[in-house]
């Protein structure tokens, strides 16, 4: 897969340059705001803002390092993200003694195997490894312990965890193995992450400014119709304007961004419902201000597989 990174496109440097510039501006504004006097609530939301910006800095730094050092680093990075996300999921999922071996295998065999399949560009096995083999074999191993207490519920929850945190998430770096006419796969991965993150941020901003009508108050109190429509449209426009780093035309790029936005929104909503049914508000404490690894990647988990297959179907 070396050729994907042999020529780091000039667009890529522009992108990272402007992203760092934006973050620098955001950090400066936050620093200026912090000097002004404020009541307790404002101080808290300013602290939240600073934490969010700092987490973005860290994400951009890690991504830049991964992109510049090559696909292996990118895969290792996403494998670690899967590891931490699955760790959060399993922490909130009840398990019994018989689940120990399947869980151990999920972390230390299935995650490395899934990402190795991407690294060696074996699309066929990559696409069925977890839905077929992990789905059939892991519960079989648990069944050998002949403990039927909550058996279906336990294995279903663990399979959900694997599907979302490993199978779905791995479709983002899997973009690197697509045989695109011009080998600019890294930019496509960047495009996906950018649209998903922009959508999250814009929905947060629009929600704070205009949010009134809650979409599913019991699942996710911060999601509003105004935030989703405003933020989603903004992210679609931004994504459309980024067509020049992709194989898409401007219109196609906007349509594909809209798909990413919708899937990302559904990911956030659905995983929030999963989380709440497991009795937690945040998935973990991995990234300051962002709740946890799964809170940060929930949109990507849902957007990545659909984006991957759209690109694979229409552009390869």
């Amino acid at each position: 897969m070396k050729h994907f990174f042999e020529d780091i496109p000039v667009e890529f440097l522009w992108l990272f340059g402007s992203l760092m510039g934006l973050l620098a501006i955001a950090s400066t504004i936050a620093a200026v705001l912090a000097r002004r006097p404020a009541d307790e609530k404002t101080t808290a939301s300013r602290a939240n803002l600073v934490e969010r910006i700092n987490a973005w800095w860290i994400m951009v730094a890690i991504l830049a390092a991964a992109f510049l050092t090559g696909p292996t680093m990118t895969l290792v990075l996403f494998a670690l993200a899967s590891f931490f996300a699955l760790r959060e999921f399993i922490t909130l999922t009840p398990s019994r003694a018989g689940d120990r071996l399947p869980l151990f295998l999920s972390f230390f065999v299935i995650i490395p195997a899934q990402y190795t399949l991407i690294g060696t560009a074996q699309y066929g096995l990559f696409a069925i490894f977890i839905p077929v083999y992990a789905f059939l074999l892991l519960p079989s191993i648990a069944a050998m312990r002949s403990d039927v207490e909550d058996f279906l519920s336990r294995s279903a929850k663990q399979q959900w965890g694997l599907m979302v945190t490993v199978y779905c998430l791995s479709h983002a770096p899997a973009l690197l193995m697509l045989p695109l006419p011009q080998a600019r796969n890294a930019l496509l991965l960047f495009y996906l992450l950018l649209v998903v993150q922009m959508s999250d941020v814009m929905q947060y901003v629009f929600g704070k400014l205009f949010g009134k009508t809650k979409i599913a108050p019991l699942v996710s109190p911060s999601k509003t119709v105004e935030g989703f429509v405003g933020g989603g449209l903004a992210a679609t426009v931004i994504g459309g304007a980024m067509w020049w780093i992709t194989p898409f035309t401007p219109l196609q790029s906007a349509a594909i961004s809209a798909i990413i936005v919708i899937m990302g929104f559904l990911g956030g909503l659905t995983l929030s419902a999963v989380k709440r049914s497991l009795g937690a508000k945040d998935w973990g404490v991995m990234i300051e201000g962002h709740g946890g690894m799964l809170d940060r990647t929930d949109s990507i988990c849902f957007a990545a597989p659909v984006f991957f297959h759209v690109v694979r179907w229409f552009y390869t």
Binding site: T91, S95, R100, F107, V285
Partner: protein, 202 residues
């Protein structure tokens, strides 16, 4: 920090997170005895890894010589996390197993101890043994900090060989109050209740 310590802390954080939650006390240079519930072989390392780096140097976990005293484990325990080895099996009936602990306390170190003496298999700790009481009365100025390890029994419980990565928190409570002339049993029950109370905070 030695490279072996950095590596150990890294592995522990990868496996169980070991996130510190300070409720009722804050990390600081005061000499302390941290006492915690004991459900897993990673317990010692989890508490030690959750401490801020500058406190780790002066904080020494207690480890059983019969398990940690030989070969690679001994290397890990003494070079990796500076453990004080304790003779749980009492091979020499004349010596007091607490003596190495007294020596480190006199040298100004903080200690991590597990008053149950052995690993349990439940979330609620078993009865505490008397060592904590004796150390507390001999060193009246040392702060006694209750610690509750949440979830570690899910990662590597007694009898299990393979660790499962699970996010674990290490909750540090308020220093145990000193009550003059308190009987041993009452003191130990109070100490145990302090750990259990932290466990209910989840």
């Amino acid at each position: 920090m030695r490279p072996s310590s950095v590596l150990l802390v890294g592995i522990v954080k990868l496996l169980v997170g070991a996130y510190a939650r300070w409720v009722g006390s804050a990390p600081g240079p005061a000499q302390r005895i941290y006492f915690a519930n004991h459900t897993s072989h990673i317990d010692t390392l989890a508490i030690w890894s959750s401490l801020p780096r500058d406190l780790r140097r002066g904080t020494r976990p207690i480890a059983a010589r019969d398990y940690w005293g030989k070969g690679f484990r001994k290397y890990l325990a003494t070079k990796g996390f500076g453990a004080v080895l304790i003779d749980r099996a009492r091979e020499n009936p004349q010596s007091d197993p607490l003596d190495p602990l007294r020596t480190s306390l006199r040298e100004g170190d903080s200690l991590i101890i597990f008053p149950e003496g052995t690993r349990g298999s439940t979330a609620v700790p078993a009865a505490f043994r008397s060592g904590l009481f004796r150390l507390a009365s001999e060193f009246p100025t040392v702060e006694l900090i209750p610690v509750y390890l949440d979830n570690l029994h899910r990662s590597l419980p007694k009898g299990a060989l393979l660790p499962v990565p699970v996010v674990c928190t290490v909750r540090f409570g308020a220093p145990l109050a000193r009550i003059a002339d308190e009987a041993k049993e009452e003191f130990l029950a109070r100490a145990r209740d302090a750990v259990i109370a932290l466990g209910r905070l989840a």
